[in-house]
Each structure stands twice: as C-alpha cells, then as structure tokens.
C-alpha cells in the first residue's frame, strides 16, 4: 500500500510527512517526524501518555490516524518550552519533583497546559478530574497536582495559596 503524503502544522510550523494510512498520529510523530517527546503507554486511549493538542483540543494521539491531521494543527510537548526557556509548568514539575521515571510527564504537561488555558484557576478537584485520564505509576499523583496548582497560582500572581492545600 502506497504511503500517504500529509501536510499539516506542528507546533505552529508547517510540516509534511509520509505515513501508512492506518498509522497512528502517535507513531507518525515519533517515527516519521522524530518528535519522540510524545510517549506511548497503552495504545488503547487509557493512559494519556500520548496527549497532544489537535486544532486546540486535547486528544490521545494513539486514537488519531496520521492522515487525519492533513490541514489541521497539532501541538506536542516539543512546542511547550520557548527555546531554552521552560514553560512555568515544566519548571514547577522540576521544583516539586513531580516526576520519577518521566514517561507520563509529557502527557501530563500537555494536558495540564490545556487545563490552565481553559481554567486558569482550577480547584484541586477540577485539576484531579481533568487529569484523571493521565496515569502515573511512580509519583502517586500528589506532587503532580501540587505542581499544577502552584503553576496556576504563580501565573495568576497569587503564589503560596495553592501549595499547602493540595494534600491527599
């Protein structure tokens, strides 16, 4: 079967690649475009490691076929930092040690960024529900939630308030 030629926008820049018609967007990002920041955990839509933005919506890239992104806009973890400057979420994940093995981290950052863009001041409950589709086998989630809420507080200029109440 002939490979398909796909033209799309990735992290704000136009991109093109060749793929198998039934290849997932996740595989195309990793194998055709060498954007290996997006991870594969389950390939069944359950873990969130493969989270990307598609036309401004958070989606699992393992549940998207690569040819679907023709003419659309894809945002991946590689587009989150501005050059060498980390996004506040990335900085806070480091400060709070919100990662151990790191396989879940790109998915959490992409998903948390989508949350803060939609809801800049989430409650702990809102953050936990929004991120319920991102699985982490290492951290126990608490540090991740603290990092997200602390980022929100910093970006809103209300720092200090969120770091205490995030237990449990």
């Amino acid at each position: 079967m002939a490979r398909m030629h796909v033209e799309t926008t990735i992290n704000g820049e136009s991109a093109e690649f060749l793929c198998q018609p039934g290849e997932s967007l996740l595989d195309a990002l990793r194998n055709e475009l060498n954007l290996t920041g997006t991870k594969e955990g389950c390939n069944t839509g359950d873990c969130g490691a493969c989270s990307v933005m598609l036309d401004g919506r958070l989606v699992p890239s393992c549940m998207v076929l690569a040819p679907e992104v023709e003419g659309r806009s894809v945002g991946t973890i590689e587009g989150v930092a501005q050059g060498d400057e980390l996004h506040p979420l990335q900085q806070k994940f480091l400060e709070h040690a919100a990662l151990q093995c790191g396989i879940c981290t790109p998915g959490f950052i992409v998903a948390a960024k989508a949350l803060l863009e939609k809801n800049p001041d989430p409650t702990e409950e809102e953050a936990r529900y929004w991120l319920a589709g991102n699985l982490c086998r290492c951290t126990g989630y608490d540090k991740i939630i603290r990092a997200v809420l602390d980022t929100a507080a910093e970006m809103n200029g209300t720092n200090g308030a969120a770091t205490n109440g995030a237990a449990g």
Partner: protein, 288 residues
C-alpha cells in the same frame, strides 16, 4: 491495520457511496472504540471512512423545536454547548461521563450509538428525551428512534451502506427536564455497571403528566420502561411513586454477572438509580 486505506469524504452522499460500494469499509469517527477493536484483532475493516470532514455531521444547533447534534461531534463540544446544557442537562451529563478529558476530545455521539455497547452512556439519556437518529442511505434519509437503534450488543438497525448523520432531540416542553445517572466502581474512567435516564413533565400543580424512563448496562440493549413511566404519570413524584419506579426498573433488568457487578447487585442498583434520576428530573422540572 497500517495499510488499510483511508478516505475522508466531504459530503454525506460521498460517504454513503463509499460505504455502499464496500461492505467491509468502516466509518471512523473518534476511533476510541474502533481503533481499540482493530488493534485487538476484533475487527478487520477494508477501509477507514473518516466522517469528520462532513459539515452535516459536525456541531450542535438548536433549530425551531429541536436540538440537532451532528453524529461526528465530540463529547467535549457537546458538553460545552450552553444551550444544550440548559435544555437537556441529562444528555449533557451523559456525554460528559464518557472517558477522560482526552477521550472527550475524540469520542463522538454517533460512535457511542453505533458501537452499540449495552453500557454506552448516552443511549439511556437520549432514549429518555425521545431522541431520533437521522440516518442517510442511498435511498435518502430516514429516522429511527434511539430505543430501536441498537438491536443487540454491537448490532444496530443501520443497513449496509447507511450512515448516522445526526441525532434530533425534541426541545423540552414547559416544566420538562431530564437527568442521567450511572454507577461505576470508581469516580472516573470506567464503563457503566448500571445507567438510568429519566425525562418528565410536571403540570402546574406538580403532578407528573409525562415521563420516559430508560436503563442501560442491564440488558443486551438499553431499555425503555413503560411501566416505570406509568408509575410516575399522575403522581407527584413522591416516595410511593419513586418506590414503584425502582421496582419496575429492577423487574425489567436482565443483567449479566461479571467482574463489575453480580446480577443481584445490578438489579438492585438499577432501581436505585432510576428512582434518583426521576427525583432529580422532577426537581429540575419544578424550577422551570
């Protein structure tokens, strides 16, 4: 799966022609059921027909006396529609329950109906509000009531070559409201053990004048329960009527035993959820 050809028709007629010419071609909506099934070796389609480029299948609109939801509209877009949330909160709740935030960005209403899982969350909610499926085939369009759409687990009333275009919900009358509840062992990311949807209308004196009760995950398809509705009509949705709703739902359930729940548990819980959903719908109707 890698080499299965992919096509993205731009119109309903183009999609219907593609589906009609190849019995093994499969509609691809959000892919959250289909891709999992194909990767698991359960299905082997000959072609992917991506329907997300067909304008008629996309978006929510309130037109005249009905609400129209395009079949390929993802759950997140449906839930975010403020007027839909206000008019049919139970349907909004059911869509919001599907999967995670990520799944919500993909999973479509049409896919939830066409996959025909007995546990599909939107089905009982749509049955309760009297929704109709708008289906297109080579001979034109026809309508199928949602309660008649799924004919068994994984089976629908769609003929070969037919496409689900949209779901049409009648705009609720005055003092009419709906609710949907489901039980899962955790708070997120699981499949319904039991689901129940209720829509009802209250008269000026608080007497219920119309009701529809539907249950999911307790039979091969979601069920519309005439007897549970009859228990509500003419009542003031009091404890006595609610107890009869619960008994009717328990009596109608024909569940399976599996790791998520035993037969006895599901039969008991479906009564409880039907009763609670009726009480919530009645409270909402009262406020309208």
């Amino acid at each position: 799966m890698q080499s299965i050809p992919y096509q993205a028709p731009a119109s309903v007629s183009e999609a219907v022609a593609l589906l009609g010419s190849d019995a093994e071609a499969r509609v691809l909506a959000g892919g959250t059921d289909l891709l999992v099934q194909v990767r698991g070796g359960v299905r082997k389609p000959s072609a992917w027909i991506d329907v997300k480029r067909i304008p008629d299948l996309l978006g929510v609109s309130v037109e005249g006396d009905s609400i129209r939801i395009g079949a390929a509209t993802p759950a997140a877009v449906i839930f975010e529609h403020p007027e839909l949330q206000r008019l049919v909160p139970g349907v909004a709740e059911a869509t919001d329950l599907i999967g995670s935030t990520q799944i919500q960005g993909r999973a479509t209403l049409g896919g939830n109906l066409c996959n025909a899982s007995p546990a599909a969350d939107t089905t009982p909610a749509l049955i309760a509000v009297g929704a109709q499926c708008i289906v297109a085939g080579s001979g034109g369009e026809r309508e199928i009531a949602v309660e008649a759409f799924a004919t068994g687990p994984g089976q629908t009333a769609l003929a070969q070559g037919e496409l689900l275009v949209a779901v049409r919900i009648p705009k609720p009358a005055a003092r009419t409201a709906d609710a949907y509840l489901r039980l899962i062992p955790r708070t997120e990311m699981d499949i319904a053990v039991v689901g129940a949807g209720v829509a009802l209308t209250l008269g000026d004196d608080g007497t219920c004048t119309q009701a529809r009760v539907a249950i999911g995950a307790v039979a091969p398809t979601a069920l519309l329960l005439e007897e549970a509705a009859a228990a509500l009509v003419g009542s003031r949705v009091d404890d006595d009527a609610l107890a009869r709703v619960a008994a009717a739902a328990t009596a109608a359930a024909r569940p399976i035993d599996d790791k998520r729940g035993t037969i006895a548990y599901r039969r008991k819980v479906v009564g409880v959820l039907a009763k609670r959903a009726a009480a919530i719908a009645a409270n909402r109707a009262q406020e309208r």
